[in-house]
Subunit: 229 residues, 2 copies
């Protein structure tokens, strides 16, 4: 029985190693271009042995994507301490680290494509978006978000995705600038919503009240006032 347990652990360890090797390859090039032969060779095993663990490239891709989704969701977790702007800014730094490490694979997945679009991969992408949404609400201290707040948070998440994708396409703007910009974009979109809705206005006032005078939100407000005059 002990031998049996050991054998099963060995299988699981081999699977995990294979997922790691595959994720590495799927991240560096478009998944379309990565072959099972290449994954086998990088893992130092034979092609049939890869098929022993995974029935095909799609199931290995999905397992690799699951690990990437878990890794990304873990980077969204941030202590509930200190000003909100600074917390979001730290998360943006870790988000761009992830995007940077997985660039070509991230682009291929998010832009969709024959080999990367399936109901499983779509569900994984949505699970990461949902993890981001839940984290942001928890930092805002909101459990039952009004429709306008849900819209601001979810549409900002899609803005963060498209900003990262555009950055990957040529990297013509320093990523540090985009990490700050996305924090400001969040404040700007929330402000637009708050300008027309009393409930959002109250929420935003509460958040901004806790922001330090030298934080990103105050900095933005000052610059916008300069721009307006």
């Amino acid at each position: 029985m002990t031998t049996g347990v050991r054998r099963r652990l060995g299988v699981e360890e081999r699977r995990q190693q294979l997922i790691g090797v595959a994720l590495e390859l799927f991240s560096r090039r478009s998944p379309d271009e990565v072959s099972i032969d290449e994954i086998a060779s990088a893992a130092g095993i034979s092609r049939p042995l890869v098929y022993h663990y995974f029935p095909g490239k799609l199931s290995l891709y999905e397992a690799a994507l699951q690990r990437a989704a878990d890794e990304l969701a873990a980077r969204f977790v941030e202590p509930h301490e200190g000003p909100l702007g600074a917390r979001l800014h730290r998360v943006m730094g870790r988000y761009f680290d992830f995007v940077d490490e997985h660039g070509p694979g991230f682009s291929a997945l998010m832009r969709g494509g024959p080999a990367v679009g399936s109901s499983t991969t779509n569900a994984l992408v949505d699970s990461v978006r949902q993890a981001a949404y839940v984290q942001i609400l928890s930092h805002l201290g909101v459990t039952d978000p009004p429709a306008r707040l849900e819209l601001v948070v979810r549409s900002w998440i899609s803005l963060a995705e498209s900003t990262a994708l555009i950055w990957l396409d040529g990297r013509r703007i320093p990523r540090e600038e985009l990490e700050s910009q996305l924090v400001h974009d969040f404040a700007a979109l929330a402000s637009v919503s708050a300008a027309y809705d009393e409930e959002m206005g109250g929420l935003l006032r509460r958040i901004f009240k806790e922001e330090p005078a030298d934080g990103p939100f105050a900095d933005l407000a000052g610059r916008l006032l300069t721009l307006a005059t």
Copy 2:
């Protein structure tokens, strides 16, 4: 020879009629749920005759999507007259008309799914995004956009998509409000970029200078100042 030309026109007309019927069905329900039998029945022809014109459901779906993409791109076209905010606001009205008419099909396509994701459908979606991008640049009077302007315009287009998708999911916010909000979101995202970049600042000052005192941008600025105090 005349007969031959007539016969070919007949075929093309029948194809176009079939595309119209299919688009109607693919718009009202998720394309996954629409069968060839149903399309044949709605068009008043037999199932084999549908296959005579289109080899399969995917090719008919792609043809319907091509027509929808052309229709949507046509709605982006707006005379180069009057304040920019009002122009964008009119386009947003026509955009939400389109989203409203094609709701379930639009959601299924943009959220991705087994039957709706292919390299052809992705290319069609990208062609509509590109048409929107080209229109906006032409209204801004810019031919060679700096990287930061390209980012603002492209990421705002993705914001408009996600806003429409979130609206479709329950329609909890009046669409008129979102049409205005997206105009303001554009101004807000451009302002954030301008707050940190001299070139964007100059461009934005030039645009805002031409806006009327009772236009959407001035209205937003006034409300934001109220919120900040």
